[in-house]
């Protein structure tokens, strides 16, 4: 069992003092986040007030953490003031990511049909009318109107008015789809759980409201970071043992010497620079006392198209 300690020694030799990037006492590990090309749709959900808007957003983003097990990765991009929404009500921009346009074409109408149309006072509108590619939304959902639905072509955009029990559910015929980047991430390593959690929340709060990005996991934070594959053949992913503090000594750990807890923040965005900018923002917010290191998750660079180096984020900033 002498292997594991030697890796911790190796880690120390590798990162302690060697051209390290530090923010205060936090080491920014010289590694990269491996992100993937995915398709995304931007949905604008509006409602009569903040309560029902929140209810709709929570519902439509529910069970939308990772395409490993969910149909989409969904999250609120930002809240929209009444002046920013097509119907002049309070709203939210929601980003939904899928591996393909076809996958989104199945998932988005399902989610909107079950989670937005059912929610009182809401409307679902296209957040990317300029997109070249579209997927049907109201085009499918209109059939719920059982022949009483009405369409309205306003400008170049077609809307469907579906009669429901509180009036009408307004839904746009289609939503735009574009290429995005999913899987940008950082891994925050703390000396204990509470310190790491506080840092993770600082990071998520720093990105909240940032246009073009969203964090799909609960509260924006993942505690069960994964690696590709498993010793069990039926599983596509399994626990990222290298960052599990209870496995120090059993596996080749990537935790810093003082770290006893790690949280991953996964960031999806509309393009690589936006994701990289959000990662930098998150790192700067998370770094501090009790956070010996901030790292990132990757798969050896073999799976994802985008390799976002952590040091590069700060080189670019200079």
């Amino acid at each position: 069992m002498g292997v594991a300690p030697s890796f911790r020694d190796q880690w120390s030799r590798l990162y302690d003092g060697r051209t390290a990037v530090r923010i205060g006492s936090t080491l920014i590990v010289d590694t990269f986040a491996e992100a993937f090309r995915m398709r995304f749709a931007r949905l604008i959900v509006t409602a009569a007030d903040a309560h029902w808007l929140d209810a709709a957003c929570r519902a439509v983003c529910g069970y939308g953490c990772s395409v490993i097990g969910c149909d989409t990765e969904a999250g609120v991009e930002r809240q929209l003031a009444p002046g920013e929404t097509p119907d002049g009500r309070s709203g939210a921009a929601i980003l939904l990511f899928g591996f393909s346009t076809d996958a989104l074409a199945k998932a988005v109408p399902n989610r909107v049909g079950q989670c937005v149309m059912t929610c009182p006072t809401t409307a679902a509108l296209n957040g990317m009318p300029e997109a070249e590619e579209t997927i049907p939304l109201g085009k499918h959902l209109r059939y719920f109107g059982d022949g009483f639905q009405k369409s309205k072509l306003i400008g170049e955009r077609r809307y469907w008015r579906i009669p429901v029990m509180d009036g009408e559910f307004l839904v746009e015929e289609a939503v735009g789809v574009a290429k995005g980047v999913a899987g940008g991430n950082i891994i925050i390593q703390g000396v204990d759980q509470s310190t790491a959690l506080a840092a993770a929340r600082r990071a998520v709060d720093a990105m909240a409201g940032e246009a073009g990005v969203m964090t799909p996991f609960p509260g924006g934070v993942v505690r069960s970071g994964s690696k590709v594959g498993s010793r069990y053949q039926q599983l596509r992913a399994s626990t990222n043992d290298a960052f599990c503090p209870t496995l120090i000594g059993r596996v080749q750990t990537e935790l810093a010497a003082d770290a006893r807890c790690a949280y991953e923040i996964v960031i999806n965005g509309i393009d690589e620079p936006t994701v990289a900018g959000a990662m930098r923002m998150a790192i700067e917010a998370a770094a501090g006392e009790g956070i010996p290191a901030i790292s990132a998750g990757n798969y050896g660079g073999k799976l994802g198209k985008f390799h976002i180096g952590l040091r590069g984020l700060f080189d670019a900033a200079k």
Binding site: P86, G88, K150, K152, L153, I154, Y159, R161, G167, L170
Partner: protein, 269 residues
Amino acid sequence: MPLTLTLRAADCTPLDFRGVTPDAVRGMTLAELLRQRVRCGNRALALGNVVEAAGDPADALWRLEGDWSHVHHLGEGMAAGEIVAAESIGRHAGAAMRGGSITIAGEAGDWLGAEMRGGLIRVTGEAGDHAGGAYPGSHRGMRGGVLLIDGHAGAWLGERMRRGLIAVSGDAGVGLAAEMLAGTVLLWGSCQGAPGVGMRRGTLGLFGPPPELLTTFVSGGENPLPMWPLLQQELRRHGFAAEIPQGAAMRIVHGDSLHGARGEVLLAR
């Protein structure tokens, strides 16, 4: 540089501009344009005989100086370009147009935008009968585009309209949206007679005095409709000043029952 057109003679002999539109002549030189034939009464004349022109047709932007109320079929069938009339314009302006825009600072004659399929027509003054309507024997009237009238409109506004948006700040004559197939007509003034007779689908928003609806129109509920803000934004985008009563619940009347009651007349309370 826009093309400025001024009528040479002040007589009222009707001129027929069919086939001479900004997009059709944009590839011509000014001399070629002035050789185009137009009907003047019962004669065909070169355009140069009836108008003075200055500027470049290439921009597809025409400015019409003076009163053109005896000039008909202006912009008929145009697919792109812009016509700006400083005063009134004759019949059939923008009929069957597919794109581009016509702005009329004065009044427009009958059949304004009749059977138009796209584009924008804006009239500051009044419009004659059959605006956005259908020609006799035709199944469908306006099939797309936007027709905005700041003044009053004549009779048979939006007759057999199939798609598009008509908004009128003032009053409308008889036969409003008669046999309407779909689309949206909004009226802030009053209308004569019963509106929406024989309408199959479509939306007729009446924000003025309550109209006398036929008994084949069935009163529905009262609800705010989420599509109103979208329509209001569309009107604002075109600089149309009238405001749809926001926030107020609308009284919905379904009709015409003789044709399935799939149309709706929306009345501001």
